[in-house]
Amino acid sequence: MNASTERRQRLASRGVQAAFLIVLIALWYVATTRWRVSPLLLPNPVPVLSDFWDILTTGEFIGDLRVTLSELAAAFVIAACGGLIVGYLVSRSHYRIRVFEPLFAAVYSVPIILFLPLYVLFFGLGPASKIALGASISFFPIALSTIAGFGYVERMLVIAARSMGASDYQLFRYVLVPAALPIILTGMRIGFTVALLSIIGSETIASLAGLGHRIVHLAEAMEMTRMFAYIIFVVAIAAILNALVSALEARVRRAR
């Protein structure tokens, strides 16, 4: 009885979600056909869909996607290596934590995207400035969570392992890492999200190639249909990447 009402409620909320989506698309369609909204502001969904299909089948997205993804990969790898190493080194002493943690937290609260003009000035319009910006933005959540993970391992666990004769390596492998991993993984996921955001953002503002650049280019050329198709494409890519990272995180968490 209870289980069946719960299932019915879940079905009902799925129904509401589907209805919401359908109403949204219907409104979009009606707005463009009946209410005479200018196609420059809102193109009809049907040509947008066919353009989307066109982009997928002709594969013209591959060049931009490759640029964006390689920038993302480079930025994230740099940020993850730097953040893990710096965070671990800082977390090894109580004094260093008290010196560096507030510093990192203060910098993290500043929107680093502000410094994009400086990055462009130093690294040029190409991928280098995006990689540098993405890496420095996603460095801070990773470093902070590594400090939080390794720095606040329960002393009891460390003392117990030591008194049972654990070596440095054993302490690291069997006590510190399992204790710190959940927090570090959360930090890495946040770091990945902000890296993706800042790379697409900096491509939108100043760049020569990449998905963000493509969207701005189409907007300036007033090719609204194609632009909407690309927006759908980028949102889908972002959703897929986020889902992949979440799945990876869950898997590592379970394997711990």
């Binding site: 510093l103 963000g212 969207i215």
Partner: protein, 257 residues
């Protein structure tokens, strides 16, 4: 005598080991690294000296003032919209189960992909920046308010109802007081989001406002004034963040005691 000198030496060493002192040392060291290459990166002293020249540049103070107002309006709007959507969602379980996945999905997608659309719809003036800031700011308010309402212990609601509290009384005396900590946490996240959104839009529009000057200084290779402008904006961001964070600490105290 000797014991006294060793005592002062130890005290001095202990005093030198204060974390905040070392923190200042690290910052000074970083600024020192800055001095090495004065061609590309203007030394901090020169940036500081040129701040008044920057503020005398025609249009810069006005652009900074406009950005400040955009941040304020976008923040207030995000909090209001977040409250108006978040409270009913938190109080109605069915609506929450139906719409929260949609909201979380939208929150997770990078809105910067539709930044050109905002400029197209709202123009290059303050409206597009405010709208883009709001689009970043109101999602965290919704999410934290829903979480806050959900975390109210059911026993409080049950006992209030069994003692005959009206719907208004429950809202006034149970829901609102328990929402305050999560509300302020949401406001802090909203401020972070609004700063990101407004500054992104400001940088994107390169024909007016901050974006015009950053583009101008970059293209005319004037790192001193560019750094000065960025430093002023960063100071603005830090002050706004700090105000909201202080408010959060202040108003959540009773709850955690």
């Amino acid at each position: 005598m000797t014991s006294r000198t060793t005592w002062t030496a130890a005290a001095l060493r202990a005093w030198l080991r204060r974390p905040w002192l070392a923190r200042i040392g690290v910052v000074v060291l970083l600024l020192g690294v800055w001095l090495i290459d004065p061609m590309f990166i203007s030394p901090p002293s020169r940036v500081f000296m040129s701040l008044d020249a920057l503020l005398e540049t025609r249009g810069v103070p006005a652009a900074l003032r406009v950005t400040f107002w955009e941040l304020g309006i976008a923040f207030v709007l995000s909090v209001v919209i977040g409250l108006v959507i978040g409270l009913p969602l938190g109080l109605a379980p069915f609506a929450r189960r139906s719409f929260m996945p949609i909201i979380l999905l939208l929150y997770g997608t990078p809105q910067v992909t539709i930044l050109p659309l905002f400029v197209l719809y709202f123009g290059i003036g303050p409206a597009s920046k405010i709208a883009f800031g709001v689009s970043h700011g109101f999602f965290p308010v919704i999410v934290t308010i829903v979480a806050g309402v959900q975390n109210i212990k059911p026993i409080l609601l049950t006992s209030a109802r069994s003692m005959g509290a009206s719907r208004y009384q429950i809202l006034r005396h149970i829901v609102f007081p328990h929402m305050i900590p999560s509300f302020f946490a949401g406001m802090r996240l909203a401020m972070t989001g609004v700063l990101l959104g407004v500054l992104l839009a400001e940088l994107y529009v390169s024909t007016a406002g901050i974006g015009y000057f950053t583009t101008l200084f970059t293209q005319s290779f004037d790192p001193t004034r560019l750094l000065g402008l960025v430093a002023l904006l960063a100071a603005m961001a830090i002050v706004l963040n700090e105000i909201v964070r202080r408010a959060e600490v202040h108003f959540s105290r009773w709850h955690s005691e």
